[in-house]
């Protein structure tokens, strides 16, 4: 499906929670009433100045916002462009995830839900959720694939330290997709008392819209910061895309401008290898986890197990708004392999003294790989998280 891009009319999702043909609410009936209630409460909170004030205050005092927009001088010289990093890695808990979690947990408090559940891949969303639940005194259960529990053990320990219960999920591919299944099963069972804090712009409506709105603080700040010093907008935005929340957060406030946008998916061991997570590049539209979107699936409609060196990108689906932005041509989606991500990882560490998470290292890897196209341009890259959590994996691959 292709559409003509029409910036003026960009008012998605529509009332049915659709971004063009994508999105919607493909969930068991048990959850429908909860989704309608959540949508109503969220739309109320969006206009409620007291809620917005509470959230903004928590972002500032607790999460440490605004995050800097940093000119990466030495990296820029090597790349031949002007690279600006939106430093989401400097937020409390080390990633952009907390922006959304603070919003959703405040909403849960407002709705009187005492129990919070969440899925996590790399552990960053689980960590942010456990953290914020500790702050507000809420019960927290985090579902995490067994494979991810093994490769992100430091985050598991931190979550437990914060008082959350971490439930390893042993079904299917034992990664993020299966953690989402199990969290949805918990929600179906305990929906009356439980708020599901979804970690990305995925899931049934209103989640893709709500998470996008909360993460848009990234793009709004970046736009203001860049304008203030440059008196114009950047040429490019770049961000990694797993579910796609940091990318949407950066892109959304720029959608109606002329700024070019590049989303970088994980190509794993290579696009022809079958071991990748490049949903938009290699997948086909389908339905998983409550919404219609591009999906890695076989010809029988069974979901294919994804692969990425980064647990946060290791997901066979993608947010429905990204599917829409791809089809409409507004955003270009490209890929970086595990190997390119590791190159990006080292590059930023050694040129700027910033160790990135493996997720945004994919975006850096792509910039290195495709540096010619960016020559002379200004680029804002969303540095969505810091790399401490990835030391174990990186040590296995890089012999220093």
């Amino acid at each position: 499906m292709k559409f003509a891009w029409a910036a003026k009319n960009y008012r998605w999702p529509d009332r049915r929670g659709r971004f063009g043909p994508y999105g919607g609410r493909f969930v068991p009936e048990t959850l429908m009433a909860a989704l309608f209630e959540l949508e109503k409460e969220y739309l109320k909170a969006k206009k409620d100045s007291k809620f917005q004030f509470e959230w903004k205050r928590a972002l500032a005092d607790y999460a440490g916002r605004p995050s800097p927009l940093f000119f990466a001088e030495r990296a820029s010289k090597e790349l031949g462009c002007r690279l600006y990093l939106k430093r989401e890695d400097l937020n409390h808990t080390g990633a952009h995830k907390i922006n959304n979690v603070l919003g959703q947990v405040l909403l849960a408090l407002q709705m009187g839900k005492p129990r919070i559940i969440a899925e996590t891949g790399a552990g960053q969303h689980g960590l942010a959720t456990a953290t914020v639940c500790a702050k507000y005194g809420l019960e927290c259960v985090v579902y995490m694939g067994e494979a991810d529990v093994l490769r992100q053990s430091a985050n598991v320990y931190k979550m437990k330290l914060l008082g959350a219960a971490v439930v390893p999920v042993g079904s299917g591919s034992k990664t993020l997709k299966d953690a989402v299944n199990e969290t949805l099963r918990d929600w179906v069972t305990n929906v009356r008392t439980t708020f599901y804090v979804v970690g990305s712009v995925v899931g049934p409506h209103p989640y893709p819209m709500m998470v996008r709105d909360f993460q848009s603080v990234i793009g709004q700040e970046a736009k203001g910061q860049f304008l203030k010093f440059q008196k114009k907008l950047p040429d490019y935005l770049a961000a990694c895309v797993g579910g796609g929340s940091n990318a949407i957060g950066l892109f959304y406030p720029f959608l109606k401008t002329k700024v070019k946008m590049v989303g970088v998916e994980a190509a794993g061991l290579g696009l022809s290898s079958n071991h990748h997570s490049a949903t938009l590049t290699k997948g086909h539209p389908g339905v998983l986890h409550g919404s219609k979107s591009y999906l890695l699936q076989d010809s029988n409609g069974q979901v294919k197990p994804p692969h990425s060196i980064s647990a946060g990108l290791d997901y066979p689906g993608v947010g429905p708004e990204h599917s829409f932005l791809k089809d409409s041509g507004r955003v270009e989606y490209v890929t970086a392999t595990d190997k390119e991500a590791l190159e990006g990882f080292q590059f930023l560490s050694q040129t700027e003294g910033i160790i990135p998470a493996l997720e945004p290292a994919h975006a850096l890897g792509y910039l290195l790989e495709a540096k010619r196209r960016f020559t002379g341009s200004s680029v804002i890259l969303c540095l969505s998280g810091r790399g401490d959590k990835d030391m174990g994996i990186v040590q296995k691959h890089l012999n220093l």
């Binding site: 909860a34 998983l288 699936q297 029988n300």
Partner: protein, 263 residues
Amino acid sequence: MNRITAFWKKGKKALVPFVTAGFPRKSRTPEIVLALADSGAHMVELGIPFSDPLADGPTIQASSQVALENGVGLGDIFGMTEKIRTKSGIPLLLMGYYNPLLAYGLEKFGKDASNAGADGLVVPDLPPEEGEELSKVCRKHRLSLIYLIAPTTPPERVAKIDAASTDFCYCVSVTGVTGLRKNLSGDLKDFLLSVRMRTKKPFVVGFGISTPEQVRHVAPYSDGLVVGSALVKMFLQEKNGKAALRKACLLISRMTRRLNGTG
């Protein structure tokens, strides 16, 4: 009129066993369905396996996993349906998640399912709001599209779902996934009575029904019962397939007797 419409015309209550297609082996599915029909089942729900069955508990997840490892696709399932149809006129409901249907193509799915002798369809991750397209296909090919009602469904929505559903509705007995439960909720009776007040069509009750005793308790408040995990579990636990099938048939015949108040 398809076989489901015809069944409800008789005014009887329905006992509906659930069978995962292709579990424990592809070749056994028609035999299992036919044996359950012979034991008194009134309708059979044939489960289409999916890699991510988020409305299912561990038992049906495990059977789906085995079925997928056996390489079962929709083509195979239509083959099984045809085979069952050569020997039995029992109403057949296909139950499957939306994505495999989408991948097959909704129109082609409707046509092939109908030609193979299936009568209806339950899609656990498709609420009526998202069902327009499939509903059109089902009408065209005379397949019943059965929507679900949950304990969390608000009263005014129950009536809406009843109107959107063809022939009957599927009431989920608990907030939760499929699977055995020792005790059904005490509120179940109230819930079913409130559904009765707001529906015009018959409804069956499923999720958690595993014993003849539960059948006896729930039967007066519903038009039928679905039994899934309890049967699937027999095939998971019992290595000898013939023995598992004998046990399953025994359970179904005992449940049928309870349903009609003669056991």
